[in-house]
Amino acid sequence: MNPVLVLGGGPAGLSAAGELASLGAPTILVEREGYLGGNPKRWHYSLLAPDLRPTEEVMDPLLGKIEGNSRIELRLSTTLAKAEPVEKGYRVTLRSAGALEERDVSSVIVATGFDHFDSRRKFEYGYGRYPDVLDFKEIEIMLHEDRVLRPSDGKPPKRMAWILCVGSRDVQVGNPWCCRMGCVVSIKQAVEVRRKHPEIDAYVYYMDIRTYGLWEDLYWKSMQEYGVKFVRGRIGQITLAEGGSRLMATGEDTILSRPTEVPFDMIILASGMEPSAGTKEVATLFGLSVGPEGFLTPRISDLNPVDSGVPGLFFAGAATGPKAIPDAITEGMGAALRAFQYARD
C-alpha cells in the first residue's frame, strides 16, 4: 500500500496520523513548521476549557503516538508544492528547504487548520499599538507561565477586560462566522486569572455567550465561584487614559442602554479563527471549492464532515470551519478510517 499523506501536524493531523499507524497504514505526516502540535503548541495554550485540564494532557498522548513510530514518516518544515491525481491516489511533490521530492500516495488527509485572527485588523482596539491590549496569542502563554503582568510596565493588573468576537461575526473584517471557542476560552482565561489572583477584577464584554452544550457549566461557575463579571454590550474602541498609563474602553451597555467608559489595566481580545494560509494553499493545489468564508467545504457536511467529495481526499479539523480540539481529534480519527478504507480497497 502506498502511504497515506497527512497535511498538518495540529490536533486533527496528529490524531489522523496516529490512527493510521495503528491501523497498520504507512503514513507521511507533513508539517510546515519545524515542530508538531499546531496552534496549541505554537501559542502555548494553558488550560483547556471546559475542564481546566492542562493542554499537555491532551497534546502529549497525541504526540507520543507519532514520535518514534516506525510507520510514520515525519516531515517537518515541509510543504506541499504540487498534487496530481493518478489512477489511485495522488502523485505529490513535497518541498523542504528548497528541495523538491516526488512521492506517490494512496490518499490525502487535509488537516491544515486555522490561524488566529490578526487583531491589528480591528484597528479601533489598538492591538499592536497599545502594549496592554493582548489577544489569545499572548495571554495563553502568560497564563501558562503564571506571569499575568502588564507588558507596558511589568506590573500586575488590577482590572482586566475580555472583548469577545474580535474578528468573528463581523462583516467589517469579512468574517461573518462564529469562532465557536472564543466565549468559553475567554471565560476559562478569566477563571484562570481569578483562581490564582482573586484581587484582579475580570469583566467580560459580550453580545452573546455561546458556551454551548456542557460548556455552559463553566460560564455559570465563572460567576458563581470565581466572580467574573459579565457586561452585555460591546467595546467599540480602546484609547489611552490617565496619562497613557491605563486603557480606556468605550462601549455601550446594551442592557442599560447607555454608553460606558471604563479604565482597564489589560484588555484581552478574543481573536477568532480564520482558514489558515496552508488551508488556502491546499484549496488552490487540489482545486477544491471553498465556502464564502474561505474554509474547505465537505461534500455533505451533515452526513460526513470528513468527505471532500473528491476520491482519495479527506478533511479533518479546523480546515473546514472553527472547531474545538476534541472535535478536531474525532475528525482526525474519522478521516483516518476513511483514508485507510480508500487506500485498501
Binding site: 485588523r121 489598538g126 467589517q172 453580545m207 480606556m248 455601550e252 446594551t254 442602554s257
Partner: protein, 278 residues
C-alpha cells in the same frame, strides 16, 4: 433653543420638577396620538418600509452596541443609533412616529456608526430616510425642531456645509487626531503632518471653511432643485425657501454678468469658455 435642548441629558437624572412637567415635546410613550396623527403615522410607516433604501440599509442587528460606542450624539443625549436601527427593524407605526418627533434630529450624520457596524447596516442612512419622511410630511414637531436652524439651513443650501473646525473638542473624540489610525497600518498624525494636510488658514479660522466659489454653490442649488430637496423644504418652511431662492437668483445674475464680462475679455484670444447654465 437648540434641538437637543428638548432631549433629557443622559448623565443626569430628571429632577422631580422636570419629571412632572415633561419637555415641550412629548417623548416615546407619553403622548396620546390623535386620529389624524395615527393616520399620518401609518402612512409614514408604509412609505418607510416601501422605500427601496430600507432593504439596503437595514440588514439585521446583533444588538452589540458598537454603533453607539462611537456616536457623538449618544454621549450627550437619550439617543442611540442602536435604538434607531431597532426601531427601523422591529418598530411599529407608533414607535417610528415617536422617534420621528425628536430623536432622529439628535444625530449629526457623522457616519461613525456605519463604520463600526459589524452587520453592515447603514444606520446613518436609515436615520436620514426617517428625516426625509418627517420633512416630506411636514410634521409639526419637525417644523418646530428645525425652526432654530434657519442659519444652518441657509448655509447648507447655499454653501453646502455648516460645520467648522473649531467645533471639534478633542476630549470628546479620543480616536481623532494624534491617535487616528488607518485600516491595516498603524500611523500617527503629527501636528506637522496635520499642518501640511490642512491649510493653515483653515486651522486658524472658521471663516474660510464657508468660502465657496459661486459656481459651486450654484451647482449645488441646482442639485437641490432637480432632486426635489427645495420642494421638500418649501413644504416645511416657505419663508426660508423664498429667501433662499432670492439669494440664489441674485447670485445667478451676478454669475451670468461675470461670465459675460469674462468671455468678452477673452473673445478672440482663446476657444469658447466652458458653458455653465446654473
Amino acid at each position: 433653543m437648540s434641538v437637543v435642548a428638548h432631549l433629557p441629558r443622559r448623565a443626569q437624572s430628571l429632577t422631580e420638577e422636570e419629571a412632572e412637567s415633561p419637555p415641550a415635546m412629548e417623548l416615546t410613550g407619553r403622548h396620546r396620538m390623535s386620529e389624524d396623527e395615527r393616520t399620518v403615522a401609518a402612512t409614514i410607516f408604509d412609505e418607510f418600509h416601501a422605500d427601496p433604501r430600507y432593504r439596503e440599509f437595514v440588514l439585521g442587528c446583533l444588538n452589540c452596541g458598537e454603533c453607539t460606542t462611537g456616536c457623538p450624539a449618544a454621549r450627550f443625549y437619550d439617543f442611540s443609533p442602536r435604538e434607531m436601527l431597532q426601531i427601523a427593524a422591529t418598530g411599529d407605526a407608533t414607535t417610528l412616529w415617536d422617534a420621528l418627533q425628536e430623536k432622529i434630529w439628535a444625530c449629526c450624520q457623522c457616519y461613525t456608526c456605519n463604520m463600526r457596524c459589524r452587520f453592515g447596516n447603514d444606520i446613518a442612512g436609515i436615520i436620514s430616510v426617517m428625516r426625509e419622511l418627517s420633512v416630506i410630511h411636514g410634521l409639526e414637531s419637525t417644523r418646530r425642531t428645525l425652526a432654530p436652524f434657519g442659519r444652518s439651513l441657509t448655509l447648507l443650501m447655499t454653501v453646502g456645509t455648516q460645520v467648522s473646525s473649531d467645533m471639534i473638542q478633542p476630549d470628546f473624540f479620543r480616536d481623532w487626531g494624534p491617535f487616528a489610525t488607518g485600516s491595516d497600518q498603524v500611523w500617527q498624525v503629527t501636528p506637522e503632518v496635520m499642518r501640511k494636510a490642512i491649510p493653515l488658514d483653515v486651522l486658524q479660522t472658521t471663516r474660510s471653511s464657508w468660502e465657496v466659489s459661486v459656481q459651486t454653490s450654484l451647482e449645488l442649488f441646482r442639485i437641490y432643485e432637480e432632486t426635489g430637496v427645495l420642494d421638500m423644504l418649501r413644504g416645511l418652511d416657505p419663508d426660508l425657501t423664498e429667501m433662499l431662492v432670492d439669494i440664489v437668483e441674485e447670485r445667478r445674475e451676478e454669475f451670468a454678468e461675470a461670465r459675460e464680462r469674462f468671455s468678452s475679455e477673452l473673445a478672440g484670444q482663446r476657444g469658447p469658455v466652458a458653458t455653465f447654465t446654473g
